[in-house]
Amino acid sequence: MLLDTLIDVPIVLPPAVAGVALLFAFAPRGLLGPVLNYFGIIVPGSTIAVIIAQVFVASPFVLRAAKNAFQSIDPDIINSARILTPSKLRIFFTITLPMSKRQILSGLAMTWARAMGEFGATLMFAGNLPTITQTMPLAIYSLMAADPFGAIVLSAVLIIISFAILILIKILEKKK
């Protein structure tokens, strides 16, 4: 129940708040920062920070999809397998996972779309450093003042990709 709620927190959390939270966790004087610092790792402002921010904000989509997929499997199907094989791992990899494949893939596509469009948390936590932490949405933001046409081109690219992802999700859901 608590874990279930925690998984959903990033979905409702404003991205800026997520960025602040991540900063406090990973900053050199933050919660985990000193430990990482000891090994010479500085997370904020790095490419790793972009990945962490995007995973933090977007992963609930795939987690939720997987959870729903697992729950929608008829318990008697799992029970059948439990009677036939002692291995829980085998049941997971031969029954649970294959039966959830489509829903998890569709969740992954959603996650990717969310990560691609991530703006607030990345800006707060990783910054907007060209070639290091600048993502497409951040680049559009930077370009808007200097080169509006460039911003429009990048936007068009994002629109096409988003649309393609949506179609992919629809196909996955329909096949089910």
């Binding site: 008829d74 008697d76 199907i77 029970n79 059948s80 397998a81 439990r82 009677i83 036939l84 094989t85 002692p86 291995s87 085998r90 031969t94 029954i95 294959p98 039966m99």
Partner: protein, 381 residues
């Protein structure tokens, strides 16, 4: 082979099973019969190890698989119990071919690919699905799915077979042939089997013994004839759809063996009971003959061996090939006759007729609930 001792189970506040005890002998087919929601499936799931009981002990082959041994709590995992289970909704793996479904259990036994392949082919043939090995479950009919499910459950040569309402999810048309197929397989295998059903006919046709489950416990267990002709409680009698009466043994001064039902005296052997004792009396509708009129012969036979009573038809219930006629003879009594005789006798409600039943078809048991006002019994069969 399988033994349950005082097994209990509750879901939340609801006590589903209380002190359930029964035994299934080796090679025996036991039908666990009862109305929906009486805990039959729960009992089966506990024997399979899918859910743990709250209390009591379960033994398989004299080995404790559930319960307490000293201070240690024992729970043997489902796969270690070496049993086969056929689920009501088949529960086939939808993403696997029928052939792979059947082979699933074989693959965790260290057999060679070739061995698994031959064994699977044999099983497909055995249940009549030779041409359907390369189909997905969604591509075959309900009856075929149930055959596949049966093949999957017997693939590993289990010592015990558990079947949970295997015919209930199948349409009526294919039910009969599927029942025959199941019957054939079960008779051939001679595996110790528990067959859960709410259908009396299925239980009668398939099982060696029948256990009737009601109110969270076994109401009666016995052979087909024992259960049919000597129901031990009101619950069993009601479930079987027989005539049930609160009767009373005639007082001592009476010269003959008599039981009084709603003020009407009928002849019945009552040597086992004391005068004035309250009894639960049951008579199967098939044992009650219906006569439009009496000839001299019938009247002469109205003695110690046969009861003949006059009454009025109050209800007619047409079933598939039988007709249940209820006649008020001072108490309502149901008679089952064939559709042919129903048409020939030209029976209508309100018509005066005679009923006739032998004294040896009257079954009696002690009435623990005491004498209650007679209620028209409902047929659940």
């Amino acid at each position: 082979m399988i033994r349950l001792e005082s097994v209990s189970k509750a879901f939340g506040e609801k006590e589903v099973l209380q002190k359930l005890s029964f035994e299934v002998k080796e090679h025996e087919i036991l039908a666990l019969l009862g109305p929906n929601g009486c805990g039959k499936s729960t009992a089966l799931n506990m024997i399979a190890g899918l859910i743990p009981p709250d209390g009591g002990q379960i033994f398989i082959d004299d080995r404790l698989v559930d319960g307490r041994q000293g201070k240690k709590k024992i729970h043997i995992s489902p796969s270690a119990r070496k049993l086969g289970y056929v689920f009501q909704n088949q529960a086939l793996f939808p993403h696997m071919l029928v052939r792979d479904n059947i082979a699933y259990g074989l693959k965790s036994g260290g057999r060679s690919e070739q061995e698994i392949d031959t064994q699977t082919k044999k099983l497909l043939e055995f249940v009549g699905l030779t041409e359907f090995g390369n189909h997905y479950p969604r591509q075959i009919s309900g009856g075929q799915k149930q055959r596949a499910s049966l093949a999957r459950s017997i693939a590993t040569n289990p010592k015990i077979l558990l079947l949970d309402e295997p015919l209930s999810a199948v349409d009526t048309r294919s039910k009969e042939s599927l029942r025959q197929a199941f019957n054939g397989v079960l008779q051939h295998l001679k595996t110790t089997t528990i067959y859960v059903t709410h259908n009396l006919t299925e239980a009668l046709m398939i099982a060696d013994r029948i256990a009737i489950l009601g109110n969270g416990r076994i109401e009666q267990i016995g052979t087909r004839d024992e259960v049919l002709s000597k129901p031990k409680s009101r619950f069993v009698a009601e479930f079987l759809g027989t005539n049930i009466y609160d009767g009373e043994v005639a007082p001592e001064e009476s010269t003959r063996d008599q039981i009084e039902i709603a003020g009407v005296s009928i002849s019945a052997p009552i040597s086992d009971y004391s005068p004035g004792q309250a009894l639960l009396v049951t008579i199967r509708p098939e044992d009650v003959a219906l006569l439009p009129e009496l000839d001299a012969n019938d009247l002469k036979r109205n003695d110690h061996t046969v009861n003949v009573l006059e009454g009025v038809i109050v209800d007619i219930l047409l079933m598939k090939s039988m007709v249940h006629i209820t006649i008020d003879v001072g108490f309502p009594i149901k008679s089952a006759i064939t559709l042919r005789s129903f048409i020939d006798l030209n029976l209508t409600e309100g018509k005066r007729v005679y009923v006739q039943f032998k004294v040896n078809v009257i079954s009696k048991c002690e009435n623990h609930e005491g004498i209650e006002r007679y209620n028209q019994t409902s047929s659940l069969g």
